[in-house]
């Protein structure tokens, strides 16, 4: 439940930022939504199992699902590369405003 609340908060904040003006705020919003989705994937693995999936000395009943962790790990790095690409776009060409001055 706590993780779900966290996800809700992040999505709300991220969506709000994405719908404002300016590339930078869109990037920030996207980062938040990206984090939220990563947590959602983690949540799909089952929040009640929280032991590290290191099986050097056998498995335990509360060992976390490793598959979402692997997904999220690569997702973080991909999100990072996309974020820096979008930031590059924001800082090149002209101002990062996404709308005509109103």
């Amino acid at each position: 439940m706590t993780l779900a609340i966290t996800i809700g908060i992040m999505v709300a904040g991220g969506v709000y930022l994405m719908l404002q003006r300016g590339m930078v705020r869109i990037v920030l919003g996207l980062l938040l939504v990206g984090h939220a989705v990563n947590l959602l994937i983690m949540s799909a693995g089952g929040v009640f199992r929280r032991d590290q999936p290191l099986v050097g000395s056998g498995t335990t009943p509360f060992m976390a699902d490793p598959l979402p962790q692997a997904f999220v790990l690569t997702a973080i790095v991909i999100a990072f590369s996309i974020a820096i690409y979008m930031l590059t776009l924001a800082a090149s060409g002209s101002d990062d405003d996404t709308e005509d001055a109103s």
């Binding site: 809700g8 999505v11 930078v24 009640f48 590290q52 999936p53 790990l73 790095v77």
Partner: protein, 965 residues
């Protein structure tokens, strides 16, 4: 084998046109004509078997056996007739073309004409319905290019013709799909012999309508007739072949071919007869109105095709006999007439009937050809056209349907023939008789007869009509076989010039007599020529529909055409929320949570996140926004720790740090504050955002964590050490179980780095924003950058090697303990970031490593380890080896580690790219300016937004290079 030989010879002809053209130019037509003539003889030699014995030639090879499509060819009577026309008339036209064109290369023309002949032959021989469709489309494409060859003015007509006939092709495709699905076979002869679908009235009507659309578009029937006159933009040999003998006959062929299935369907009969006769009458009237010789011939073709379509619609054996004879007659006289048009056009320089006249003295051969052909067209004995028209009239009288339908059809057909006589007369009389209407000394008045090579093909075609008229019983076996193939009933035809006094003869006489009267009353058509009988033309209608469709598309596009990202991002969000609302209303049947999902400490993270996110949404400062989102990111990392994902948490921490470093490099180029947003929009977006957050939260709670460990996870936890030799399951998934995914992501990462470089090469970075420029005087303690960074540099000097070593350690141990390529790469990247932060100026911080090469090396190394996997069977399959160590232990080496090295290199390369590219003062290409001079001094003079720089003060630009605000 004869059938395959036909197609192979034609294909070789197509392929050899470039060579022929190179050495022969326009004379390429001679060898091609010879080949076509040889093929005609070859086909004619098959007559005893195909027509005499009634056994079709067949050939079949598997083509796409998975879906049951075969490359099967079949030549029955119908196929024989049309193959003869395609190769025979083709041979005449090819010979004619050698003199029609001025000397010079004609590659496009000969290539496309041979291609067209190939496609037509394939079409009429195909016994697989898919193959038939392929050849059908090939004729469409070839005709498009042939019309388009005539230059820019022909481009619209070519496009109109293409779109229209392509529409017919789509209809045919629909029919093909329906038939194949219904009958379960693609064999055309089997489909047509199958009576299981012909009894289903609805199905058969739908298929019949689709085939009708295909026939009508290809054979220029009302209301699709206008493309044919439009296509007269093509050169005359093209028109003579495509628009008289070949392409338009494809529709006729299709109608004949499908007659076994549709001949008894009343819808087919009625639509074909009605539309055909309307086309025949209308085409004939329009033809009489033309002043351009070629357009006259075009409308006359439309009219004649109308008669053919209508008589096929009658569907009786006698009607099919009439159709077969008229197909031959029309191919002969119309190709001859088009060749006459070309002769007159080339010799006199005009096709305008108002300027021509009296040519019979100066072009006697052409005049003879024209007269013979026109007589055949007008239905005058003893030419073939007379016999075919007699048969047409006779057949119409026996049309199916109500009792009055046949006689009415006969009357309309006679009406069309009246005008046929009139325009035939106009064609010949206005061109060759009377006196010339051109001024003395003009080119028209001085025209003389062409050389024999030019007129010979036309002579052959027109005399063919006369010869066949005189020896018409010779056609009996052919027409019998065609009628039998089409109706499955014996026709037992006895074609004769003189049938005695019967209805058809009186109808012919009426047509000729009234035709002569009309010609006289309308002064050979001059009184109606050029007048608009109806207020619009087919071309206008087409263009209106065409632009209307495009306008409609644009309107549809307008609904979402906006430059505002907020709109594009908002719309799907709202839609997802709406979906969530719908689901919420109907409710879901959910299992209860599988365990304790809430721990006490979690609430700290929830609180931290709430504060960070709320503050991030409220703040108007960019820097604060970035920081607060960073706080949210760290909170996520803590969450990941709590969830037992140490690897992921470490990655998240490092990524957060590096994101902030990179973002700061960008933010200093932008204003301090975000752009203002109106209060109303804030409220609206807040509502959307809260709804989205609520949906996401509820969905996350309702739909996750309600099951036990997945089977996949269980397997991996059980078997990872044995399968991969690693105990860090997450890492084994990354580099072993799902290494291909990781490889893909690695490439994405590398591409992102390269894109950043590409973007900044094509458009420069913004200069540092004016609001972030600080002027510091030289005596201020903040001025000397070197002094101010001494602490960081000293620490960095020791920390940097440590970080590099640590990153390598993480890389090595990743397979068993938290670590791995991603984390190690990020740690290594942090080392470079530290170097960057500690440097006293942007220029000094430049890391002179070839970072694109590092990215590339990463991808190559990873790919290399993947190829190593082929040794043991598949891409990216890790190989294992136990390497003995000096002290007796074994080191477990796996190529998965090599893969991880690739990951490590790519991550470092991308980080170096971001730091170097974004850290520069301007988008100065690295390596261009030396590292000894600061870019700010290089370009400070032309920096418009920067305040004036004094020599004793320097502009510190809010960068990370220390000593600023």
């Amino acid at each position: 084998m004869v059938l395959l030989l036909l197609l192979i010879v034609l294909a070789v002809t197509v392929a050899s046109t470039p060579l022929l053209n190179r050495y022969l130019g326009r004379d390429s037509g001679w060898p091609i004509a010879a080949v076509f003539l040889a093929l005609t003889v070859l086909v004619a030699l098959q007559a005893p078997q195909v027509l005499g014995a009634g056994t079709p030639l067949e050939f079949s090879r598997p083509w796409m056996p998975q879906i049951g499509v075969e490359f099967s060819l079949r030549m029955d009577g119908i196929g024989w007739l049309f193959t003869m026309l395609v190769t025979g008339i083709g041979s005449l036209i090819m010979a004619y073309s050698t003199r029609y064109f001025p000397s010079g290369p004609r590659l496009g023309f000969y290539f496309l004409m041979s291609l067209f002949a190939f496609a037509m032959t394939g079409l009429v021989l195909a016994d697989d319905i898919v193959l038939l469709f392929v050849f059908w489309e090939l004729t469409t494409i070839a005709s498009f290019y042939l019309i388009g060859l005539s230059g820019p003015s022909a481009s619209r007509p070519a496009i109109r013709t293409f779109l229209l006939t392509a529409m017919g092709g789509l209809a045919l495709l629909g029919a093909v799909v329906l038939l194949v699905v219904r009958t379960g076979t693609t064999s055309l002869s089997e489909i047509l012999a199958d009576t299981s679908w012909t009894g289903d009235t609805v199905f058969v009507s739908v298929v019949a309508l689709l085939v009708i659309v295909a026939v009508f578009t290809k054979s220029a029937q009302f209301p699709f007739h206008y493309w044919l006159p439009d296509a007269m933009a093509a050169s005359t040999p093209v028109s003579a072949y495509l628009h008289a003998a070949a392409m338009v006959k494809a529709g006729i062929y299709l109608a004949m071919r499908f007659t076994p299935a549709f001949g008894d369907v009343l819808l087919w009969n009625v639509v074909l007869i009605t539309a055909g006769l309307i086309t025949a009458l209308m085409g004939a009237i329009f033809a009489l109105q033309q002043t351009d010789l070629k357009r006259l011939a075009a409308f006359s073709t439309v009219s004649q095709l109308g008669l053919l379509v209508a008589v096929i619609g009658v569907g009786t054996p006698a009607a099919l006999v009439a159709a077969a004879v008229h197909t031959v007659a029309h191919a002969l006289f119309k190709s001859a007439l088009f060749m006459v048009v070309g002769l007159v056009d080339i010799r006199t320089g005009t096709r305008d009937l108002r300027r021509l006249g009296g040519l019979r003295h100066r072009m006697p051969v052409t005049a003879t050809v024209a007269t013979l052909s026109a007589l055949s067209m007008a239905g005058i004995p003893p030419l073939l056209g007379f016999i075919s028209k007699e048969n047409l009239f006779e057949s119409f009288l026996h049309a199916p349907g109500p009792g009055w339908f046949g006689p009415l059809a006969g009357v309309v057909a006679v009406g069309a023939s009246v005008f046929t006589f009139a325009y035939s007369f106009r064609f010949v009389y206005r061109t060759f008789f009377g006196t010339s209407r051109s001024e003395e000394g003009s080119r028209e008045a001085a025209a003389t007869e062409a050389g024999s090579g030019f007129w010979l093909p036309a002579v052959i075609a027109s005399f063919g009509g006369l010869l066949l008229g005189l020896t018409v019983p010779a056609l009996d076996p052919m027409v019998d076989e065609v009628a039998f193939n089409a109706t499955h009933q014996a026709a037992d035809a006895h074609l004769l010039l003189w049938h005695g006094f019967n209805a058809a003869l009186f109808m012919s006489m009426a047509a000729i007599g009234i035709g002569a009267l009309v010609s006289w009353r309308l002064r050979v058509g001059d009184t109606v020529a050029g007048r608009d009988l109806i207020p619009f033309t087919g071309v206008n209608v087409f263009e209106a529909i065409h632009s209307g469709i495009i306008r409609l598309g644009r309107r549809t596009g307008d609904l979402t055409r906006s430059d505002s990202p907020a709109f594009h991002l908002g719309a799907p969000t709202v839609l997802i929320v709406a979906l969530a609302a719908v689901v919420a209303v109907f409710g879901l049947d959910l299992p209860s949570p599988a365990g304790q999902t809430t721990m006490g400490l979690d609430w700290v993270l929830v609180g931290l996140m709430a504060v960070a996110v709320l503050a991030a949404t409220i703040t108007r400062s960019r820097m604060a926004g970035l920081t607060l989102v960073g706080v949210a990111g760290f909170t996520v990392a803590l969450w990941l720790f709590f969830l037992g994902a140490f690897d992921v948490a470490l990655t998240q921490f490092l990524v957060e740090i590096l994101t902030v470093v990179v973002a700061v490099l960008v933010l200093r180029r932008l204003p301090r504050r975000f752009h203002p947003v109106k209060a109303g929009r804030k409220a609206l977006t807040a509502v959307i955002a809260i709804a989205a957050g609520l949906s996401a939260g509820v969905a996350a709670y309702a739909m996750t964590g309600r099951r036990e460990l997945s089977a996949v996870a269980e397997y991996m936890l059980e078997h990872a050490p044995a399968d991969t030799g690693g105990t860090n399951v997450v890492n084994t998934i990354l580099v072993d179980y799902r290494a291909l995914d990781t490889f893909g992501e690695l490439v994405v990462l590398g591409v992102a780095g390269l894109i950043i470089i590409a973007v900044l090469r094509s458009s420069d970075l913004l200069p540092v924003h004016a609001s972030r420029q600080v002027v510091v005087s030289t005596d201020n303690a903040a001025y000397p950058a070197a002094d101010n960074t001494v602490l960081m540099r000293t620490v960095g000097r020791y920390l940097m090697p440590l970080l590099v070593v640590w990153s390598l350690y993480l890389l090595f141990r990743g397979h068993n303990e938290p670590g791995g390529g991603f984390i190690a790469g990020l740690v290594g990247g942090s080392a470079f970031a530290l170097l960057y932060l500690a440097a006293p100026s942007d220029a000094r911080a430049r890391i002179r490593l070839a970072y694109p090469a590092i990215i590339g090396a990463g991808v190559v190394v990873a790919a290399f380890s993947g190829f190593l996997g082929f040794v043991d069977g598949s891409f990216l399959k890790p190989l294992h080896a136990e390497i003995p160590l000096a002290w007796g232990d074994y080191f477990h080496f796996t190529t998965a580690f090599v893969f991880d090295v690739g990951v490590y290199l790519a991550v470092i390369g991308v980080l170096l790219t971001a730091l170097n590219e974004l850290g520069l003062e301007r988008g100065t290409p690295p390596g261009r300016s030396g590292t000894t001079t600061a870019p700010s001094k290089d370009e400070g003079d032309d920096e418009e937004s920067a305040p004036a720089v004094e020599s004793d003060a320097t502009v510190l630009n809010g960068s990370t290079s220390g000593g600023k605000r």
